[in-house]
């Protein structure tokens, strides 16, 4: 009983620290900015408008509610890209904290995840407005938090791997930016894929495919998630979390020496 109490207390402290780091990061990002949170909306609005303008007649003509389909893909990818890219820098940018104070360095990664989540909520608001404008049934949004939680755990696990390896491989930050761009094109964000194609088979190995399709099924089309998609998303989340914890725990004792 005492053991459980200690574990819960540690978890509470860890979450409080992660939140403090996320708040600080959020303040730093908006520091000195006159437009503040508007910048969080500008990126998805511009990307969305541009892609809609170019593709709505060709790629989007056969997709039901293409604007919603497109925006769901963009905001989901943005969350993934933003957090993982920050994760490749987070240990190095906090090198003096790591060398000064003993604290769980995982909290830096969870802090980055929470910061990404804060800005994602503004983008979700945009999605909500668009869904209302399209007179879409909004009940699917009730399930959104559960899927989002699963997605964030997946990203957190992957970010643990990236953060830990970035200490040892300086090139990882640039490689990841390039890789993210490839994932952007390989994932059906602004197009759809037929089940018989090679691209579909490739996407079975792409965790983002599962999450984006799940989000679309639930939010736009108000469908019960397909079991293979749900199973895929849960499996990738577990794999990412377990491997992330193993690699991070193995490498973290040396962080203070290596940075």
């Amino acid at each position: 009983m005492n053991f459980i109490f200690i574990r819960l207390n540690n978890l509470k402290k860890f979450l409080a620290l992660s939140l403090a780091l996320a708040k600080a990061e959020f303040k730093l990002r908006n520091e000195g900015s006159y437009l503040g949170i508007f910048w969080y909306l500008l990126n998805p609005i511009l990307t969305f408008s541009l892609l809609l303008l170019i593709f709505s007649k060709q790629l989007g003509s056969e997709i039901t509610d293409y604007p919603l389909y497109l925006l769901t893909g963009i905001v989901t990818f943005n969350l993934f890209s933003q957090i993982t890219t920050q994760a490749t820098k987070v240990i190095k940018t906090n090198r003096w904290l790591i060398k000064s104070v003993k604290f769980p360095p995982e909290s830096l990664v969870s802090g980055v995840t929470l910061t990404g989540l804060f800005s994602h909520l503004f983008e979700v608001f945009l999605l909500f407005i668009l869904a209302m404008a399209f007179q879409n049934n909004l009940t699917g949004f009730i399930f959104y938090p559960f899927l989002l939680l699963l997605f964030c755990i997946f990203i957190y696990g992957l970010s643990l791997i990236l953060a830990a390896l970035s200490v040892h491989f300086a090139d990882l930050e640039n490689i990841w930016i390039f890789f993210s761009r490839l994932v952007w094109f390989a994932t059906p964000i602004f197009y759809t894929i037929d089940h018989q194609t090679i691209l579909f088979k490739l996407n079975l190995f792409n965790p983002l495919y599962y999450f984006i399709t799940l989000f679309r099924q639930v939010i736009i089309y108000n469908q019960i998630p397909a079991s293979f998609l749900a199973a895929g998303a849960i499996s990738y989340t577990l794999i990412s979390l377990v491997i992330g914890q193993i690699i991070f725990n193995r490498l973290k004792p040396k962080f203070a020496e290596k940075i």
């Binding site: 620290l17 403090a20 060398k99 000064s100 604290f103």
Partner: protein
């Protein structure tokens, strides 16, 4: 009553590659734990003990191992071998001022670094006025750190560390840019803390401070304990060898 015991502590660092290797070979050696680098022994078979309410000084030339020892005691660096036992919470003030986020205000930094030191939001709120008042920064609570002088940043970091209520306080080169009146106030505060049973370990080149504050001194030389004893037994020979 012991507050800290250190037995046969050894710490090495891998420095400089013995041979250049590719990314894949680097990855394999990283995951397997086999590194192909030169080994530098920073601390070798360090053993000592401190009691509750003891003020211990660490002296030695640059590279003697003072900061490394403090980081090992704080748990920032893992020991290669040996054992460190601490009895109570440890707070380290090792270049903490460099850890502050320069674009955040003093108050925001206190909440962030307080959380890193293990304080809850409620505890930081309760102690905020005390910390700010001790640092004499009442008029700069919402000022961003990059607008502070070096001395003001050091005062803020020091105040945070002492109000984090440690049982063991680790200090590395106390002040560089703080005025004499604050130094006197800070040293008086440290002495009060020692009297209340807190153990303080101070690494410094300021022999005058070490001499007046410390009950015991460890003289580190090339990563080993060269001498350990009372200030009068250590300071004079240390000065004589310089």
């Amino acid at each position: 009553m012991p507050s800290l015991t250190v037995n046969n502590l050894t710490k090495t660092f891998k420095i400089g590659a013995l041979k250049r290797q590719g990314v894949l070979a680097n990855l394999i050696s990283l995951i397997s734990g086999r590194e192909t680098k030169k080994v530098f022994t920073a601390l070798k078979n360090i053993s000592f003990q401190t009691s509750a309410g003891e003020f211990l000084g660490l002296i030695g030339d640059n590279g003697a191992g003072k900061s490394t020892l403090l980081r090992c005691l704080a748990g920032i660096y893992p020991a290669d071998s040996g054992e460190i036992k601490t009895f109570g919470p440890v707070v380290s003030l090792i270049e903490l001022n460099d850890g502050f986020k320069s674009r955040l205000s003093a108050k925001d930094n206190l909440f962030l670094c307080g959380a890193l030191l293990g304080l809850t939001k409620k505890e930081i709120k309760e102690r905020l006025d005390e910390i700010i008042n001790f640092a004499e920064l009442q008029n700069f609570v919402d000022t961003k750190i990059y607008q502070f002088s070096g001395g003001m940043v050091e005062r803020l970091a020091f105040s945070l560390a002492i109000f984090a209520q440690p049982k063991i306080l680790l200090l590395d080169e106390l002040f560089n840019a703080v005025d004499l009146s604050f130094q006197a106030k800070a040293l008086a505060k440290l002495k009060t803390m020692v009297q209340s049973g807190i153990t303080i370990i101070l690494a410094s080149h300021d022999l005058e401070t070490i001499k007046t504050c410390c009950d015991k001194i460890i003289w580190l030389k090339a990563g080993t304990i060269f001498k350990i004893g009372q200030p009068k037994e250590i300071i004079e020979p240390y000065q004589a060898q310089k």
